[in-house]
Assembly symmetry: C2
């Protein structure tokens, strides 16, 4: 019998490919978190479609209302506009949700401890991402230490980041190789029916598909030149 | 103007004294988390009473439903009985809620990042507690590293554990010295009106007051010999 792994699935490209990677070796326990982000409903649909595609045995959908209440991010506060361009410098984008990944992973760890999973897969990328501090390998290393110290001595739960050092176009390549269902994913920060093609998430995604030489199956309102 | 500190206030004895300690130096931002524990309502009342007593400027009450849903603890699952005796060995009690403190502190960090607080006070005790893994100094040290790596580079948020090496009777002494409102706190894991006097939390509390030579102002159904 396959061992169990929790996979954080936002409904986006990276987490979908991460689920495809985890599925090669593990029975999947898929976790999705709504945190009041603008495209919450569309992302939840993407999660459900991906979970059905992989026939995931365990599924958990959690709603965190407090991140929206706390605010401080253009993803959860519609008063702060989504930035239109990918910044070239190292400034953290306003789409950064304070300490978000810590919450998501902590839910994964609590769940893993109860259902007996030993791995938590997350599709974070260090270099080719939006520059969020909670997407770096060092951060996950520190988190693994926290898990070791903060859970029962008999449990051994570990975060796994299979795409951490990939470029996003390599993630697309990997996904294509593993037949990940790109058509079921959603990445746009702004819209829920036709992707905007302008927000940082759309731009990064479009560029990745272009660099990989693979067609993105999603509909876009605008397909800018991205390479 | 005083700097701002987030204090986690469960409504129990230790967090109340921790708030008293923080209030000496900081403006208080008090955080309370409901997580589906049996005595949720009574603890929320204790939080509100304590927040009023300290005239806390900022208050945040968050409800986490998923910890109850995930289960695995006698505190949130009424099918698992609360143990009646304090175990002498080092086994983790069934009242342990998987990875709970990680969630509570993460909420504090997200909030601190938005309101501009630099400290998160938590009333955890390492030696004289119920043996939960997420109450040890090593765990908080690892968490501080995670915060440093997982938040924006310009923020510097740190967990402070002023009672970590105190015995619980010393916490009572300290609280008495600072005029902490013991009469507003609640510790019982089992009941919401008259404390049971039998659960691990009541026993630890009663013993602490007895050792400190101070009268516990709360009503008990049963006052066993505790020293």
């Amino acid at each position: 019998m396959k061992k169990l792994a929790v996979v954080l699935v936002s409904g986006g490209l990276d987490s979908c490919v991460t689920a495809a990677i985890a599925a090669q070796e593990y029975e999947l326990a898929l976790l999705h978190v709504n945190y009041g982000q603008r495209t919450e409903k569309r992302e939840l649909k993407a999660f459900e479609d991906i979970a059905n595609y992989y026939k995931a045995k365990y599924r958990l959908v959690v709603s965190l209302n407090f991140l929206k209440e706390i605010g401080g991010s253009s993803l959860t506060d519609t008063q702060i506009p989504i930035p239109e361009y990918v910044l070239e410098d190292k400034e953290v984008l306003t789409t950064y949700v304070p300490f978000r990944n810590t919450h998501l992973i902590a839910i994964g760890v609590s769940w893993a401890e109860v259902i007996g999973a030993e791995k938590i897969f997350i599709g974070a990328m260090e270099e080719d991402s939006s520059g969020y501090p909670d997407c770096r390998e060092e951060y996950f290393k520190a988190y693994n230490r926290l898990i070791e110290l903060g859970t029962k001595p008999e449990t051994h739960i570990e975060i796994v980041t299979p795409v951490i050092h990939m470029k996003k176009w390599e993630v697309v390549k990997k996904g294509a190789e593993l037949k990940a269902p790109f058509h079921l994913t959603w990445s746009c920060y702004q819209n829920e029916t036709v992707a905007c093609g302008k927000c940082p998430s759309c731009l990064l995604r479009l560029r990745a598909f272009a660099l990989a030489g693979i067609e993105d199956p999603l509909p876009y309102a605008l397909k800018p030149k991205v390479i």
